[in-house]
């Protein structure tokens, strides 16, 4: 139950919620914390903040204050690899990455959670690479006081499938690379692909143990893949030969090496001719030639997901289409751009 009192009459009363102060371009934060006992000197400050009245709150048995609700929500939302503190500021609790890794957001959970009138949560995009300690989401109840039941229901929704936001450490993979193409194999041109792939793989914590060169020959590509598997690689990247020319036989080589599942074509530009296949559970990625030219391609979107153990199939390569068009900016700002974030 709320009782409204004039600020001038509030001296000696305890504030029932945090009061925010905003000085444009200078400061936004808590001016007064919940529980602060109002004294004479505060009156003018409160009035400058536009507060001419304050609430005194008497909670009913089935009601909770925003500061009690916020940790219930945060607890429901936080999945593995996520940390938070039970110290709401202005009714809000921030959730942080407990480790370096890939943020995964259960978007159905998040949507259903936010459909509960009394609560909200905003997060970074799913599949954003994050650093330990980075804020990934924040939640707060909307009203100052609310019934406990919808808060608990929202938390139950958020808890589905182990939580709504989680941060997964990237696996430290032993990567084998097969560079295909007669032109490189026969020394007509220098290979430019291997250094690019090497750099991308190292940047996300894995390492390239072997690089093999193969001509546009199905059997030799097959042998190169098999060698990497026998040598213990748990992820194999093949470059080139992914397009539509008669010489593009990389896909056949992957098939002949025993791929049981092959998904050719991704709804991403650059990267439409990308392939994901699996041989005995080992992911095989066919990287099209665009990887030579563009700084960021479909590989940058899919590789981290592979490294957290996500199984990439037709659905994953299709759903990435919304936001899957690179703007090809003169100066690339990825990952601080919409590319790959529309899912």
């Amino acid at each position: 139950m709320f009782k409204k009192i004039r600020v001038e009459d509030a001296v000696g009363e305890k504030l029932s919620h945090d009061i925010t102060e905003i000085r444009p371009g200078e400061f936004k934060g808590t001016a007064f914390r919940k529980g602060h006992t109002i004294c004479d000197e505060d009156i003018c400050h409160l009035q400058k903040l536009g507060k001419n009245h304050l609430y005194l709150i008497n909670l009913e048995k089935d009601e909770i204050h925003e500061n009690q609700a916020a940790p219930i929500l945060a607890n429901g939302l936080a999945g593995p690899g996520v940390t938070w503190e039970d110290d709401p500021k202005e009714g809000k609790i921030c959730l942080y990455a407990e480790t370096d890794g890939l943020l995964v957001v259960d978007k159905a959970n998040l949507a259903a959670f936010n459909m509960v009138d009394e609560v909200m949560c905003a997060s970074l995009h799913s599949y954003t690479l994050v650093k330990k300690g980075q804020q990934i989401a924040a939640t707060r109840p909307i009203p100052l006081v609310m019934k406990r039941t919808p808060v608990e229901r929202a938390a139950a929704i958020a808890q589905q499938n182990g939580g709504t936001v989680s941060v997964h450490e990237l696996k430290n993979s032993n990567v084998g690379i097969v560079i295909t193409g007669n032109e490189v194999f026969n020394g007509l041109i220098d290979d430019k692909f291997a250094p690019i792939l090497n750099k991308k793989i190292a940047a996300i914590g894995s390492f390239v143990s072997e690089i093999t060169f193969a001509p546009d020959d199905v059997s030799l590509i097959q042998l190169a893949i098999e060698k990497h598997i026998n040598d213990g690689c748990d992820l194999i990247l093949l470059s080139g030969g992914m397009s539509v020319d008669p010489d593009d036989v990389t896909r056949k080589g992957i098939y002949q090496a025993g791929a049981t599942e092959m998904h050719y074509g991704a709804a991403v530009l650059p990267g439409a001719m990308f392939m994901v296949a699996y041989i005995s559970g080992i992911p095989i990625l066919g990287v099209p030639a665009c990887g030579l030219h563009h700084k960021v391609t479909v590989l940058d979107l899919i590789l981290p997901r592979i490294l957290i153990g996500e199984h990439i199939g037709k659905k994953e390569l299709a759903f990435i289409g919304h936001g899957g068009l690179c703007m090809d900016c003169p100066e690339c700002t990825h990952p601080h751009c919409p590319f790959g974030k529309g899912m």
Binding site: A108, A111, A112, M115, I157, Q160
Partner: protein, 225 residues
């Protein structure tokens, strides 16, 4: 309780088609029974313990009735014409009563729970299977003041309409200016212009072997007051 898939299949067969409302109804009934502590509502031990009030006459109502086994004729199924996708499940032996409401937001959320499915109905159908109960429903603990004349069991009282002579069961008579009336005679009826008629083949019965061949025509009608 049978599995969800089995109940859905059989409910859809009984209802006539599989639709999102069937999924909602089957799940609503499974949750309702769980909340009031009945795990096999159609069994002879439990069938008399259950009362269900449905607040809509749509597909969901049939699914609720199928899963729980409640029936209008057993007086275990009550229809409250509220136009709300909700039903209340009552355990008569414990007085536990829960009203389960299908959430409106679950319709919008189908797009995120089953984005790969084309077509609204098919998308909802799959999405309603995927959603947890907490998304699909809100639940209220309620008290239902059950009139003794509403309970299952033999007819508890009969009265006769002082105007038309119709027997009225279970306290549904209206007393108006000291007169006991049936609802139609009290003016509180869903029909009007009632006129008693004769009809072709009115001498037919299942056992008389005439197979409805008598061709008595309309003779005359007698208006009922």
């Amino acid at each position: 309780m049978e599995s969800f898939e089995y109940l859905l299949e059989e409910s859809a067969r009984t209802h006539g088609h599989l639709c999102p409302g069937q999924v909602v109804g089957v799940r609503m009934a499974m949750l309702g029974c769980r909340l009031i502590g009945l795990d096999n509502p159609k069994s002879s031990e439990q069938i008399k313990k259950l009362l269900v009030y449905v607040e809509m006459d749509r597909c969901t109502a049939d699914a609720v009735a199928y899963v729980t086994g409640v029936k209008l004729g057993r007086r275990s199924l009550k229809f409250m014409d509220y136009g709300i996708m909700a039903a209340t499940f009552i355990n008569l032996t414990t007085d536990k009563s829960y009203r389960i409401i299908s959430t409106e937001e679950s319709r919008d959320l189908s797009d995120v729970y089953a984005p790969e499915v084309e077509g609204k109905s098919q998308r909802q159908l799959l999405a309603y299977k995927r959603m947890p109960d907490s998304v699909l429903f809100r639940v209220q603990k309620v008290h239902v003041n059950i009139n003794e004349f509403d309970l299952p069991g033999p007819t508890k009282q009969k009265n006769t309409c002082s105007q038309c002579g119709q027997v009225i069961r279970d306290g549904r008579e209206i007393v108006k200016e000291g007169q006991t009336l049936c609802k139609p005679c009290s003016g509180n009826s869903y029909f009007s212009h009632a006129m008693e008629i004769s009809w072709p083949g009115m001498d037919w019965s299942p056992l008389n072997g005439k197979n409805g061949k008598s061709q008595a025509g309309f003779v005359k009608g007698t208006a009922l007051s």
